[in-house]
Amino acid sequence: MSNPQHLQFSKEHEWLTAAEGGVSTIGITAHAADALGDIVYVQLPEVGDTVTAGETCGELESTKSVSDLYSPATGEVVEVNQAVIDEPALVNSAPFEGGWLFKVRLDGEPADLLSADEYTALTGG
């Protein structure tokens, strides 16, 4: 699955949208979802929580392993995707769309993010 050009990416394999009214949507990339295998459990931050760029804010559990979820940006969580909590496989099947994870009201401009092409290069095409 190619990495959508309109998104920005972290080295920890999260993506985020350009802010609309100060709010960005965050998810994990197809590359990360594929590496994890079938995702069976998603633990997300709660609405009202403050997340910090580069710090863990939840966990993703797959058949074989548990991985920390990092936030690519700093800010307040304003919405979480209940659909992926109910059906974690959405992260595998639609990582850039229905499998988004949470939305953050950004506290400043996120730094150290990659373009789609840079992220594609990082993950070996």
Partner: protein, 373 residues
């Protein structure tokens, strides 16, 4: 560190887009697509596995049976020709060195199949224990590729590429057979809880066999399967995995598998490696039951994983998880654990410490899954 070993099917796995993983020094397919779909295919249709990393050791000669009776805990010489048995090899102190399948391929010949991670240990032990017996231990790890077809459609798939007498081939039996034109050992064994076959072939024939089976299974839903679903399949079927449920610290009696130890064998005057320690372990198990291997089913969605602590209602440790995974068949997390006998009764509730949170789990009898026959 040396580079990983490749099976004869390596190029095929890569062409199929498999996610590869290092397993006991071998580069093996973990999964080709979704491990959950591979798992369900084996339960409902069929799956094709490359198991060429397993370690084959041939033991032959007039005293091959006596040697194995001496070296292993089972009564191997009592096994009929063309039959197979699950058994173990133990150290002098009774600790489990490996669990094995032994196939009797002829009156004077046996094929011992060891786990990839223990194949060298088993080979070394058998070689050392062969001293004084008129028998030869041969390393045949490079002589065989191993392909498994498992699942309810396995019989039909194989029947379409062989004239072998499949209805006459019982569970835990084997036949020399021609499959897709190649000479193989065809065994009705497996590690998935389903009906199925394991095919030992020359490595040079493996690709041809894989392709023929793939073609034969096309119409009935056969899919290539990796080690990931093999692990969840065996876990549902309650089958132990060396390094998880079995290790050198445990005797077969500690693992609840005392039945594989045959104190009644008559060869070598009843003597075998580990006998004294195992007699002691058997007696201890009678009077002072060790921790019991049980199944756990979680109500939640977090998965109890190997090495997590099992705790009682007060949070006191009462055991540990040896294997755990989300069960595709049950639709909830399952685990195998050693727990104190007082908490081992099916129907009881205990908890698992999942990264600091105590998740309630129900104790159940193993296996989690048993196929309808």
């Amino acid at each position: 560190m040396s580079s990983p070993r490749l099976t004869a099917l390596d190029a095929l796995h890569r062409a199929l887009g498999a996610t590869m993983t290092d397993f006991a020094g071998w580069d093996m397919p973990l999964r080709y697509g979704s491990e959950r779909e591979e798992h369900l295919a084996v339960r409902t249709k069929a799956g094709l596995f490359d198991l060429s990393h397993m370690g084959e050791i041939t033991v032959s000669g007039p005293q091959a049976g006596e040697l194995l009776d001496h070296a292993l805990v089972g009564f191997i010489s009592a096994l009929g020709v063309l039959r197979a048995r699950y058994t173990m090899i133990c150290a002098e102190d009774g600790g489990i060195l490996d669990d094995l399948i032994v196939y009797r391929t002829a009156e004077d010949e046996y094929m011992v199949v060891a786990n990839a991670s223990n194949a060298q240990v088993v080979l070394d032990a058998l070689t050392a224990r062969a001293e004084g017996f008129d028998a030869v231990v041969r390393d045949d790890r490079d002589a065989y590729a191993l392909i498994a077809v498992q699942g309810p459609e396995a019989n039909g798939i194989l029947a379409s590429v062989t004239d072998a007498d499949l209805p006459g081939l019982k569970y835990y039996a084997l036949l020399p057979a021609t499959v897709a034109g190649k000479q193989v050992w065809l065994a009705r064994t497996g590690y998935t809880g389903e009906d199925g076959f394991e095919i030992f072939s020359a490595p040079a024939d493996a690709e041809h066999l894989w392709n023929a089976l793939t073609e034969a299974g096309q119409g009935v839903g056969l899919v290539p399967c990796g080690l990931s679903c093999r692990d969840t399949l065996r876990l549902e079927a309650g089958m132990p995995l060396y390094g998880h449920e079995l290790n050198t610290e445990l005797t077969p009696f500690d693992a609840g598998l005392g039945r594989v130890v045959r104190f009644d064998k008559t060869t070598n005057g009843g003597a075998f490696v580990g006998r004294k320690a195992l007699e002691q372990a058997a007696a201890e198990a009678e009077t002072n039951p060790p921790r019991v291997l049980v199944g756990l089913v979680s109500e939640g969605r977090r998965v109890p994983r190997a090495e997590y602590a099992v705790v009682d209602a007060e949070g006191a440790p009462i055991g540990r998880i040896t294997s755990g995974a989300p069960s595709p068949t049950l639709g909830r997390p399952i685990a195998i654990a050693y727990v104190d006998a007082a908490h081992a009764t099916p129907g009881g509730t205990v908890a698992v410490d999942v990264r600091g949170k105590h998740e309630p789990v129900q104790v159940v009898a193993l296996p989690f899954y048993k196929r309808a026959r």
